[in-house]
């Protein structure tokens, strides 16, 4: 009886659940059985070496690659068969690895497209400006002419201009200066307080450890470890075993 209740609680708790997901790209078989879950109102970190399959996992969740087998559940109902558009409309916001900036459009237009009703909430915008001042500075510019890092900021700004069910972020800190990374961490923390659920791919372990509540580590297309962040940070061997790094590496 109580077990049953806990079961339900479990299901309730997770915004997203992957169950032995397989993905093939062309003839390559990239993911073979990825299973992990993303608890509500927490930040889940997806770590792993290059080519482990993190991006592929994200794209599969967004429906940009079709899962060959397995289940992907959002709040309990299957989405692995849905079109990307449908998935997005269920409230998944995505920051892709390549940032997905519309270089021909101005920064403003980029952000405006990310709003459902073509209205930008001014308060939320001000908040974004405080996080990423460059956005304010280049508000009317063609986004193509932003620097690499500025693009990254824009991409993130675009994903948080409206509240969402689940935020998928692929390597946000890539190519960002430390000062900006600090802003990012602040931003994501504020989102957390604001009850947003986040799934983030991250290479910068410091950022990962600061932000993350929950983590999954993958290698060669399978999840090799899933736990809450705290216990993982506490456990030195595991870290060096799985990530081959010690906490000092990035201070």
């Amino acid at each position: 009886m109580t077990a049953q209740l806990q079961q339900d609680a479990q299901v309730q708790d997770n915004v997203l659940t992957l169950d032995s997901v397989h993905t093939n790209i062309a003839q390559y078989n990239i993911l073979h059985g990825v299973s992990f879950s993303v608890p509500r109102n927490q930040v889940t970190m997806l770590l792993g070496r290059n080519g482990a399959g993190k991006t592929t996992t994200m794209r599969t969740i967004m429906g940009l690659w079709q899962a060959a087998q397995g289940k992907i559940q959002l709040n309990g109902d299957d989405i692995q068969t849905l079109e990307t558009v449908a998935i997005a409309r269920k409230g998944l916001h995505y920051v892709p690895e390549n940032m997905g900036i519309f270089s021909g459009l101005s920064v403003e237009e980029n952000i405006r497209l990310a709003t459902r009703k073509n209205k930008i909430d001014p308060e939320r915008l001000e908040w974004i400006f405080t996080l990423f001042p460059a956005m304010k500075k280049f508000w009317q510019w063609p986004a193509g002419q932003l620097s690499g890092g500025q693009k990254q900021m824009l991409s993130i700004a675009r994903s948080i201009i409206e509240p969402c069910e689940l935020l998928l972020v692929d390597e946000p800190s890539k190519g960002l200066a430390p000062s900006i990374i600090e802003n990012l961490i602040t931003a994501f923390n504020q989102l957390k307080e604001n009850n947003t659920t986040i799934l983030m791919v991250e290479q910068n372990f410091r950022m990962a450890s600061v932000l993350g509540d929950h983590l999954a580590i993958m290698d060669d297309g399978v999840i090799v470890h899933e736990s809450d962040m705290a216990s993982f940070v506490a456990d030195e061997e595991k870290q060096s075993a799985l990530l081959g790094l010690s906490m000092e590496a990035h201070q």
């Binding site: 290059n50 620097s147 890092g149 890539k174 190519g175 430390p178 900006i180 081959g244």
Partner: protein, 261 residues
Amino acid sequence: MPSQDSSPVLKTQNLSIRFGGHIAVDQVSAEFEQGTLTAIVGPNGAGKTTYFNLISGQLPASEGDVYLEGRNISNWAIAKRAKHGVGRAFQLTQLFPNLTVAENLTLVVQARLGFGPKIWALASRLNSVKKEVESLLDTIELTSKSQELARALSHGAQRRLEVGMMLAMDPKVMMFDEPTAGMSVDEAPVLLELIAKIKSEGNRTILLVEHKLDVIRTLADRIIVLHNGKLLADGNPEKVMSLDVVRQAYLGELPESDEVA
């Protein structure tokens, strides 16, 4: 021509570029000696990539000059600068997507050895090229993937190929634009060691755009700080890092919005 330590291999003088109202690089003058590694740091949008673009010729300077071994190369074409030893690895990977990894490298090597215009030679018979390519593949640890199409590589692998293509140019000046961006903590070191090794050989002039401070500390002989296109500071790491102005601008100890205003 062997350059004496006194004369700089690369030199920029009041180098500037304007995009409409906005000055992306503003009066930057600097000299780079042979065998040194200079880290170029600065917040996003500071003008680092643009500075590289000006040196390698992708963008025409609105003002100022670039000197290579004393010669003014300001109005040389991109290709000519490349041939004379200005090497560049791009921040956003630039490969030949539908050619194999090996072919990507072959193209660079044969360009340097001046085989490009040879219409009648047989590519498959150019052993000198082949050998070099093999050793390069080995250096960037892609031997196993040499026959795969560049586009099928993972991001990390593509970054390595990107760097490999610059090495293949065997340039006097090497410009790395955030080479480790998006690499995992166990992949990055491979590349960084490679850079360290190249530096130790001592016959190159290396410019490195990098955000990771530990990396900079371990590798750089000297740091140049760019901010809003201006050269903010220039000197050995400890000194530069200790400057308040730098700590503010780069580490953003004051909220960034204050200085962009």
